[in-house]
């Protein structure tokens, strides 16, 4: 018997063992009722709990939907929600403005394709496309598209950005860039023109001075002519600096790559700066013990420019003591790291000026400009050149104890030897008298040139433009043609091209360009036109005779174009 029944029977049994049947049935019935009630309660609880949980879930979903709706409507970003059919379920104010929709009600339930091509939307990615404004024009848009659902219903969200302003901004920026580039190009061409214009009178000025120096002068006159010459050279240096700096600024300065002899550079330094230093009573030492490689692929003109600038400063600012220059190389199989240190015993550079010493228009002391002259561009140019050579220009200086400037550059190695179109020949002597055609439109320059050429055994025929030059070349064979580049009627380039292309007797005659256009591209233009060499105005009698010497030495039928032009 079940425990409960035993208990129930016991409760209904009196002292005599008589069972109160009515009471017993009542108890048993009560137990059944208890059980039924408990079961009902359990079932009811489960049902209600499910109902309540359902209500709660619906409430949570509703809250989520309301929150999302509120977020979309209140957002400043343009947002549109779509149902599973691609129909608009919400469009906020920013999105309405984008498409020119006056009332959201007008578009709810409409397909999104009224405003954009749904295939342009890529889930989880930013896409760019053109949307359709209500007024009929296209709007550049970018959008992100996310696919989701709220309470089982599709809820796809487009987040839009009107790119009209950005595009306008970018266009304006592009236009500004082009304008700036044009302005820069104009500046460059202005500088080139100025450089030419300044060089032409400088040519006459320095030429006159040089010629005058070769005449018989008394002591006083000699002094004046030297001053005259010095001032002219300084002016020339400044013109060069300004032109270089302008080119660096506009990114037009290019570093060339030719076989370059470092030993020859050292020799040039010795020859050029040694006497100057000694004349100031300074020691002048060049150490090439660590120079393990002679020839590298570099730009000898620019390398010289850097080093000469450093040495010039060192000599200029050292009143006593000396200047030491050391060369060293660290070479791998393909390239070579060159270090040139220029150490002086000068005044040194104050600490506070060291950081800005390489900035343009800065000198260690503003009084320097007054005392020593210069544009203050030299070091800025030198550093830019060093950077372009894959290196740097560094300074160590202790005020009162001198400065050390260290040039570092990285060059490719080459086995080709520097063919050395040497500017300095041992003796400026022509081997034989030369028949020369000189072409220049400027009467003053013609006079200077004539006077200079008369220093050597030469016979000169004159032409003032390309046409005259061609005519002259038809009539007579010349040993050398000295050709100005910019001339009226026909320029020197055209004339050179024509003579090279024709059958005149001067078809293979060396043509030396004499021009104030000093840029490398001008040089290349000359060589490309068939000219053989290049002398930059203002020229000295010395540079002129060297050009003549080079021209006559190389005057064989195949050799009129020098190696440098064969690129």
């Amino acid at each position: 018997m079940h425990d409960m029944l035993v208990h129930q029977v016991k409760l209904c049994t009196d002292q005599n063992g008589q069972i109160d049947q009515e009471r017993l049935l009542e108890l048993i019935s009560g137990a059944y009722e208890d059980d039924a009630r408990a079961r009902n309660r359990l079932e009811r609880s489960i049902t209600l709990m499910s109902e309540e949980m359902g209500e709660l879930n619906a409430q949570i979903a509703e809250e989520a939907r309301l929150t999302l709706t509120r977020y979309i409507l209140e957002s400043r970003d343009a947002l549109i929600s779509l149902d599973d059919q691609g129909r608009i379920s919400l469009m906020n104010t920013a999105a309405m403005e984008t498409f020119g929709v006056p009332e959201a009600e007008l578009v709810i339930g409409k397909p999104i394709s009224a405003f954009l091509d749904p295939t342009d939307l890529v889930q989880g990615e930013v896409s760019n496309f053109l949307g359709r404004h209500q007024d009929g024009y296209e709007v550049p848009l970018s959008a992100t598209y996310s696919v989701g659902s709220v309470d089982g219903a599709a809820f796809n969200l487009i987040s839009l950005r009107d790119e009209t302003e950005r595009f306008a901004r970018e266009e304006a920026l592009e236009a500004a860039k082009i304008a700036a580039e044009q302005a820069n190009a104009a500046k460059s061409s202005f500088l080139a023109m100025m450089s030419h214009e300044l060089r032409t009178p400088l040519n006459a000025l320095l030429g006159s001075a040089e010629l005058m120096a070769r005449t018989k002068l008394d002591e006083q006159q000699t002094k004046y002519v030297l001053m005259f010459n010095e001032a002219g050279r300084l002016m020339l240096a400044m013109v060069n600096d300004v032109l270089d700096y302008a080119k660096i600024e506009s990114g037009q300065l290019e570093i060339e790559k030719h076989p370059t002899s470092l030993k020859q550079l050292a020799t040039e330094i010795e020859n050029l700066w040694g006497p100057q230093a000694q004349s100031k009573g300074l020691d002048f030492k060049i150490d090439t013990k660590q120079l393990h490689r002679d020839t590298v692929l570099g730009d000898p003109t620019r390398l010289r420019q850097i080093v000469f600038n450093l040495i010039s400063n060192a000599v200029k600012f050292s009143a006593s003591g000396g200047v030491e220059i050391s060369f060293s190389t660290r070479c791998g199989p393909k390239n070579c790291q060159l270090t040139i240190k220029v150490k002086d015993t000068g005044v040194g550079i104050p600490l506070e000026r060291q950081a800005s010493i390489f900035d343009a228009f800065v000198q260690a002391d503003s009084s320097i400009t007054r005392r020593f002259g210069g544009t203050g561009l030299g070091l800025a140019i030198a550093k830019s050149l060093a950077n372009q050579m894959g290196g740097d220009l560094l300074l160590e200086s202790k005020p009162g104890h001198g400065s050390t400037f260290t040039f570092e550059g990285r060059f490719d190695t080459t086995d080709v030897q520097d063919d050395g179109l040497k500017d300095t020949l041992p003796e400026s002597v022509l081997e034989r008298p030369l028949r020369i055609l000189a072409v220049d439109d400027n009467a003053l320059n013609r006079k200077i040139l004539g006077a200079m050429l008369s220093l050597w055994p030469t016979e000169v025929a004159w032409a003032t433009n390309g046409v005259e030059a061609l005519e002259a070349m038809e009539l007579e064979a010349f040993d050398v043609v000295l050709m100005d580049v910019q001339m009226p009627i026909m320029d020197g380039l055209t004339a050179s091209r024509q003579v090279r292309a024709g059958h005149s007797i001067n078809r293979n005659t060396p043509i030396v360009a004499c021009t104030a256009n000093a840029r490398p591209e001008d040089r290349h233009a000359c060589l490309d036109a068939g000219m053989t060499d290049f002398v930059t105005k203002p020229y000295s009698a010395e540079s002129l005779v060297h050009a003549l010497m080079r021209a006559t030495k190389a005057n064989t039928p195949d050799a009129h174009i020098p190696k440098r032009a064969r690129r």
């Binding site: 208890d34 209600l48 709660l56």
Partner: protein, 379 residues
């Protein structure tokens, strides 16, 4: 220790053979409300054992002889050798005084080696959790505080408590046991399961609840009770609430309903219902409650089985809600406890709130809807 259980039958206490009335110092009498009101059972005990302290209360059902009873009267007579007993009594007018009353009573206890306190309190007017906190604020949280709130059957009317005077409403009696020889062990367990959504208490006042999640709590109960809603407040006991402070969600207490005011929608619970706390409905399933009672017995049993059953005695305080739900199977939960305690001598009652040290925290608290077992053990 000496112990004896007396049953009140046909207007008199049946005494076992060789009963020595002088051997007992403290007597706990648990009387059906009708028996208490209509007989002289309480005063008869006083006459029978003039030297002993007699503490009595009305119940929602009695426990004795491994059975759950209704309409009976039972007395636990306990005698100790080296245990000092001190009794403190107070009247309580309003639930709001509960904390203060607890404090005042606790302050009367003086002496070393307080082994524990057993409280028998009015169950209709008192805020049980505040009363226990009052005791704790004086005695500390480590002292074993046990007991229960008196009942009024399943009517939720007045409950009676007495000691030095007659049984009366609004009384609290606390018995303190001093001595190193006595050990009190307690087990308390519910067996109810939470179900349905977690709700927030959004409107309440002390132990009166008005709204859960901004909706009428009474309406919620009526919805769950269905046709049993007519039997409110008693039927609300089928759905106790588990409440917890969101700041300390692991410490949960169960709250049972004491009364309902249909006009204001107020539901009075046996303990605090602070606003902002989380509340979740609980559901009692018969077998789960019986198993829960067994766990309470197990928790109160000695860790080593050296205890001699002659030296120990258990007072079982279960909840009126459990009796209503278990119906005639209430006896099974009593048996589950006694079996877990190896047939220990015992007596007990169905209360309107159980007081015991929390099983996990070791601190005393008011519990609802539990079977709470206090074992007295002394040489």
């Amino acid at each position: 220790m000496r112990h004896s259980v007396l049953q009140f039958c046909e207007n008199r206490w049946e005494l076992p053979a060789g009963f020595d009335a002088a051997g007992y110092g403290i007597v706990f009498a648990f009387l059906d409300p009708d028996v208490a009101r209509n007989t002289s059972a309480f005063n008869q005990l006083k006459s029978l054992m003039p030297a002993a302290q007699i503490v009595g209360c009305t119940t929602g059902g009695e426990i004795a002889y491994a059975h759950a009873h209704v309409g009976g009267g039972f007395a636990a007579c306990l005698g100790f050798e080296a245990v000092r007993i001190q009794i403190a009594e107070a009247d309580i007018g309003l639930a709001g005084e509960s904390f203060k009353v607890g404090q005042d009573l606790a302050k009367q206890f003086k002496g070393a080696h307080l082994a524990g306190v057993f409280i028998v309190s009015d169950g209709a007017r008192v805020n049980g959790s505040a009363l226990v906190e009052g005791f704790q604020s004086v005695l500390g949280t480590k002292v074993s505080i046990n007991g229960g709130l008196a009942g009024d059957g399943d009517r939720f009317g007045e409950s009676l408590v007495g000691c030095s005077n007659d049984l009366a409403p609004g009384k609290v009696v606390a018995v303190a046991f001093f001595g190193t020889d006595l050990t009190l062990r307690t087990g308390s367990f519910g067996g109810w399961e939470v179900f349905g959504p977690k709700r927030k208490i959004t409107k309440s006042d002390g132990n009166t609840l008005f709204q859960l999640d901004h909706k009428s709590a009474l309406e919620l109960y009526k919805r769950y009770l269905g046709d049993e809603g007519e039997k409110l407040p008693g039927s609300a006991l089928f759905y106790p609430l588990q409440v917890s402070n969101p700041a300390n969600p692991d410490q949960k207490v169960v709250r049972t309903i004491l009364g309902v005011d249909e006009t204001t929608g107020a539901m009075t619970f046996a303990g605090d219902m602070p606003e902002g706390w989380t509340a979740q409905l609980m559901f009692g399933e018969v077998d789960g409650l019986i198993a829960g009672a067994g766990k309470a017995g197990k928790a109160a049993s000695a860790s080593q089985s050296t205890s001699n059953s002659a030296n120990s005695f258990a007072i079982l305080v279960s909840c009126i809600g459990r009796r209503l739900l278990l119906g005639q199977r209430a006896t099974e939960e009593v048996r589950a406890v006694i079996e877990a305690l190896d047939g220990i001598a015992h007596v007990g009652f169905y209360s309107y709130g159980e007081i015991s040290p929390n099983g996990f925290q070791g601190t005393c608290n008011l519990h609802n809807q539990t079977m709470t077992v206090t074992v007295f053990e002394a040489a």
